[in-house]
Amino acid sequence: MYLLDSRHTMLVLLAMGAASTLSAQTPDLSDAEVAHVAVTANSIDIDLGKLAESRARAAEVRQFAATMITDHGAVNRQAAALAARLGVTPADNAVSRSLLDGAATARTGIEELRGRAFDRAYITREVAYHQAVLDALDGLLIPTTTNEELRKLLTDVRPAIAAHLQHAKQLAGALGAGR
């Protein structure tokens, strides 16, 4: 278990709090809202990955960032294609906004750092973020999705998120992040 600094802890709680609050109050996110959350979650990680790809010191961290850009981009292309085929327009919602707010806060804290401190902060954030996304997939997004194709896409994406989380944890250990 990795200890997270207060900023990252806050982000995870914010994201999960919004998710659990929403799921408690409105058990069903519409499929259009689920799609928006999924695309937003991918885009957030792509954006931070672009920063890390250019700024990280360790080659392994730059490679991880490149993989995040590639993988989350591939998922978003599939999501966009599916939404177009289904005639669904992803709909903005409180969970998406919470994710974006959290991302902005996290980025502010990370982008002022350089060198090894940057690497540690980025990877610590990636551990927390992928854990939060995994929890949101299991606890909110997959259960509330009614369209079978969208649910299959989310289910197919889950192993990739889990692998990213494991990869990030390994890097965190190697960097001594979160200690």
């Binding site: 490679q63 993989t67 590639t70 993988d71 591939a74 998922v75 192993p159 990739a160 889990a162 390994q170």
Partner: protein
């Protein structure tokens, strides 16, 4: 695969075989495969995200980055165990066990 008796005589060495490893759900299926020296292994990517098969101790022994639906092939080395992984997702691991097939296989 059909291995004719005359072919076995004409080529004293074993006729290389082909094997397929599927990549699905961020894992190689099968994760461990027994092959003969010179056999060809083809990896087929069924995942949304790209993957490689890359030898741990020899980064030159690698497929290209395989997008969804793409496949890449490599030839097994002479003998021994070869551990490989996905260069994009190092948590994905596979293993080749390379050993000469029993001579009876050649005579079939």
């Amino acid at each position: 695969m059909l291995l004719g008796g005359s072919a076995a005589l004409a080529w004293p060495r074993q006729v290389p075989q082909r094997h397929v490893v599927e990549i699905k759900g961020m894992a190689y299926h099968p994760a461990v495969i027994r092959v003969g020296p010179g056999d060809t292994i083809t990896w087929v990517n069924r995942d949304l995200v790209p993957h490689t098969a890359t030898a741990r101790k020899d980064p030159a022994w690698t497929t290209e980055s395989l997008a969804q639906g793409q496949e890449g092939a490599l030839v097994a080395p002479l003998a021994g165990e070869l551990h490989y992984y996905c260069a994009l997702h190092p948590v994905m691991r596979g293993r080749l066990i390379v050993a000469a097939r029993p001579s009876s296989w050649r005579q079939q």
